[in-house]
């Protein structure tokens, strides 16, 4: 019993970690305050769910769940190229909401508010991921791959350039760098992994509806990347684990679900605000948002 619960928590940590790492690339490394990031998560989830329902093999569906959001990221980056900081945050919130409205109203595609039930568990080369333990292993593999790929990217010269663009875009332009292309690629990378997280989510919970992808669902993820420290993958790793575990501890000591939900949000909000005031670099970060 306990072990089933721990496996569940571990899977949730994996999904949130992939999502948080993807947002870290966007906000921490590229300096793009994309508050609409949940839209990529949701698009990935729906893509994966709908494709597998049409009989597409899960591995292909997973890849598509990563790739389709990249198109949206490209489209988003064009008009938002000139926006900075808070204006960018608000415009991307608007984007997130428009996608949410589409999920809610495009009934023929997404089944609207009813959502999509009965999403199949992944089948990889004939092997069915039928229980949670095997799903955990799958999630760990994907999370591990995500972390190592992102680590390679941020340590590469491109990663360096992405950070330079974040620090001073005009200076980067003056050094001959096409900053629009760089920011766009950064956003597309973050969209890809958000979509992957979305696929994992859809096939674990086996039911998705628009409410999981409302705009404000981004807040716990934002907490994770700021508390861990901006531009630190390691920080995101630790912060995500801690932030997922804290409410679970509360559940363990018997807090009823109706209180648990808001209590979790309150804790996240308080920690976020305290960190922003007293330790804006978070625990492992080197960067303060400009």
């Amino acid at each position: 019993m306990i072990s089933a619960y721990l496996i569940h928590v571990a899977i949730i940590i994996c999904i949130d970690l992939v999502l948080a790492l993807s947002l870290q690339i966007s906000i921490g490394y590229a300096g793009l305050l994309n508050f609409g990031h949940i839209a990529f998560f949701g698009i990935g989830a729906y893509t994966s769910a709908l494709l597998t329902m049409q009989g597409v093999p899960w591995i292909i569906a997973l890849l598509c769940a990563g790739i389709i959001p990249m198109f949206f990221a490209y489209l988003l980056s064009i008009p938002t190229n000139r926006l900075k900081g808070d204006y960018l945050a608000l415009a991307t919130m608007g984007f997130s909401f428009v996608i949410y409205a589409l999920m809610l109203n495009w009934n023929s595609l997404t089944k609207g508010p009813l959502g999509i039930p009965g999403i199949t568990k992944p089948i990889i080369f004939g092997l069915k991921i039928s229980n949670n333990l095997s799903f955990l292993i799958l999630a760990l593999v994907i999370t591990g791959l995500t972390y190592s790929i992102l680590h390679k990217i941020v340590k590469s010269p491109f990663g360096n350039l992405l950070q330079a663009t974040r620090d001073d875009e005009d200076a980067a332009k003056a050094l001959g760098k096409n900053t629009f292309k760089i920011k766009t690629i950064g956003l597309m990378i973050s969209a890809f992994f958000a979509g992957i997280a979305g696929s994992l989510y859809a096939h674990y919970i086996t039911f998705i509806d628009p409410s999981s992808f409302a705009m404000m669902m981004i807040i716990p993820i934002v907490c994770m990347i700021i508390i861990g420290g901006l531009a630190s993958l390691k920080g995101t790793f630790f912060a995500t684990i801690i932030l997922v575990i804290i409410p679970e501890i509360l559940r363990f000591v018997g807090m009823p679900s109706s209180i648990l939900g808001p209590a979790r949000q309150i804790i996240y909000a308080l920690i976020l605000i305290i960190i922003l005031i007293y330790q804006p670099k978070g625990f492992f970060g080197k960067v303060v948002l400009n």
Binding site: P79, A89, A91, A101, N105, M216, Y268
Partner: protein, 291 residues
């Protein structure tokens, strides 16, 4: 049909205008997006519910208590959180993120205390609609429009003619110069939150009377108000008011053409478009988006 849509647009616009005006006042003075303003509005609605529906205090006294309480809430947010961030020279982006955190905090507290089910406040609600110029409109809705117009007119007069209003505009234009000239900028920041949040309280009261109360309404209302402010020019209180009315009207005419489920998306779509192409709004002063 046209008159009905126009009436609906004005009613929605009136509420958005109250939201936008308070927000714009705070934004103009403090130079950051106080996103938590949305939750202050919601808190206002729930406080009225608390005083009037739960405790049973006389309606008008409840209204006054609510307005004072929401003004206090806004003041506390500034005093406890924003002032500290300002001391540490936090960027507007950090202030925005903190503000979103505060919105979540307040909404979660409301959810905790009052639970998620929708609340209604039975006052002026069950009244028949009157026919006016071809549109059906309830007495409450007329009250909303008139209250908004009177209040906002008073606010504009205050901003233009009172010494407080002038001081706020001075701080908004040039904080350092204002300090040199002897204006107590800390006090001005506090006043902007008191006044802006009091107006938010009134907006919350009207929303509570007109619709059902739900804890999560804050972000939605905030974005509507913010969009209105952006359309009209976020640094200009009269601009924000005008933009908000326009938003209400466009929204309601918009669902003539689009499925009604997309009503909210109209506001967000407009927000997106204006931020991209006309960030200074229709009337606004140049703020300057970085190239």
């Amino acid at each position: 049909m046209f008159m009905q849509l126009l009436a609906n647009g004005l009613i929605a616009g009136a509420i958005y205008a109250l939201i936008a005006a308070g927000f714009s006042l705070i934004y103009k003075t403090n130079k950051f997006v106080h996103f938590a303003h949305g939750s202050v509005i919601v808190a206002g609605g729930y406080l009225l519910y608390l005083f009037y529906s739960l405790i049973g205090i006389n309606f008008w006294i409840s209204v006054i208590l609510t307005i004072i309480s929401t003004a206090l809430v806004g003041l506390l947010l500034n005093y406890i959180v924003y002032a500290k961030l300002r001391e540490r020279k936090a960027s507007p982006t950090i202030m925005l993120i903190a503000s979103v955190g505060l919105l979540i905090l307040i909404e979660s507290l409301v959810l905790l205390i009052f639970s998620a089910d929708a609340k209604t406040i039975g006052f002026l609600k069950v009244a028949k609609g009157i026919s006016l110029f071809g549109a059906i409109i309830t007495p409450l809705q007329i009250v909303i429009i008139i209250t908004a117009i009177l209040l906002l007119g008073f606010l504009l007069w205050l901003m233009k003619n009172s010494s407080l209003g002038k001081a706020m505009r001075a701080v908004s234009d040039d904080k350092n110069l204002s300090e040199v000239l002897g204006i107590n900028t800390k006090k001005i920041y506090n006043y902007s939150f008191i006044i802006g949040s009091a107006i938010a309280g009134i907006a919350g009261i009207l929303v509570a009377l007109e619709q059902n109360l739900e804890p999560s309404m804050g972000s939605n209302l905030m974005i509507k108000g913010f969009t209105g402010a952006i359309i009209g020019g976020v640094s200009s209180v009269p601009g924000a008011i005008l933009g908000a009315f326009l938003l209400g009207i466009v929204e309601n005419f918009g669902i003539w053409f689009l499925p009604s489920g997309y009503k909210d998306a109209i506001a967000f779509g407009l927000l997106f478009i204006f931020l991209l192409f006309k960030p200074d709004g229709l009337l606004g002063i140049k703020k300057g988006i970085k190239k």
